[in-house]
Amino acid sequence: MSWTWFHRLASPPTFFGLAQRLAPWCAGFGGALLLLAWFGGLVLAPADYQQKDAFRIIYVHVPAAALSLSLYMAMAVCGVVALIWRMKLAECVLVAIAPVGASFTALALVTGMLWGKPMWGAYWVWDARLTSELVLLFLYLGVIGLNSAFEDPRTAARACALLAIVGFVNVPIVHYSVVWWNSLHQGSTILKLGKPNISADMAWPLYAGLLGSYLWSAHAVLRRTQNELLLRERNTRWVREIAAATEPGA
């Protein structure tokens, strides 16, 4: 099998161009799906017989929570690639994912807290799922902090790669916390493959929201990766050309 396509893809200008073309589609489709999902979730879906309208928080909470885990996993994979092949692109993607992942983790926490108050009677309890998700946020913040603490961006990115890999142990803990401990938080049912036990008119906005959120965050990651590439390659011709082209009057 030939790896040339891979190397070409990983070359900064090629990837930059690809991202430039891909990103608007991600944002467009993602945005459309999200609008649909929120409309479906807020208006079309019937109120839950137990939780009444409070259940509608699910349409923000679950996509955010799923992304918080998926993005961390992606970050760790990038870390492995960055370390083994010393690939600049993987370093940039890793650094780009961290703030996006942190924002969705924070969102999962905030919406979870807002959901917890009416359901469990408290914004916060020291429960396994909640605590491990908080730890996930700290891990993201740790990666961001570590990255900003180094002066040389490549050294910084490789340090972040190592941290992301070690921190990965927390991801299964978040996911299985509801199984391993008797948690207040409900177990995985919706995201399980097979037959979800949720009625269809409640389910479709959720799935649309999930897909839309993944696309939306892909857009953010692509854009942030582009920024990283611009910064690191600022002395190359292709970046200078882009910079010159966007300069007003130039």
Binding site: A27, P99, P118, S217, A220, L230
Partner: protein, 44 residues
């Protein structure tokens, strides 16, 4: 919203903020980066 309005709208507002931030923050950074690069070129 069966008495849960604060929580539901609060959640969706937080969601909107995060989604918008993820759209706008990279864009602002992009502009700042390109400006800095163009400026550095001007210096030389």
């Amino acid at each position: 919203m069966s008495g849960y309005a604060v929580y539901v709208w609060g959640s969706f507002a937080a969601g909107l903020a995060v989604y918008l931030w993820n759209l706008i923050a990279p864009r602002l950074r992009r502009r700042a980066t390109l400006e800095a690069i163009a400026e550095a070129q001007g210096d030389e």
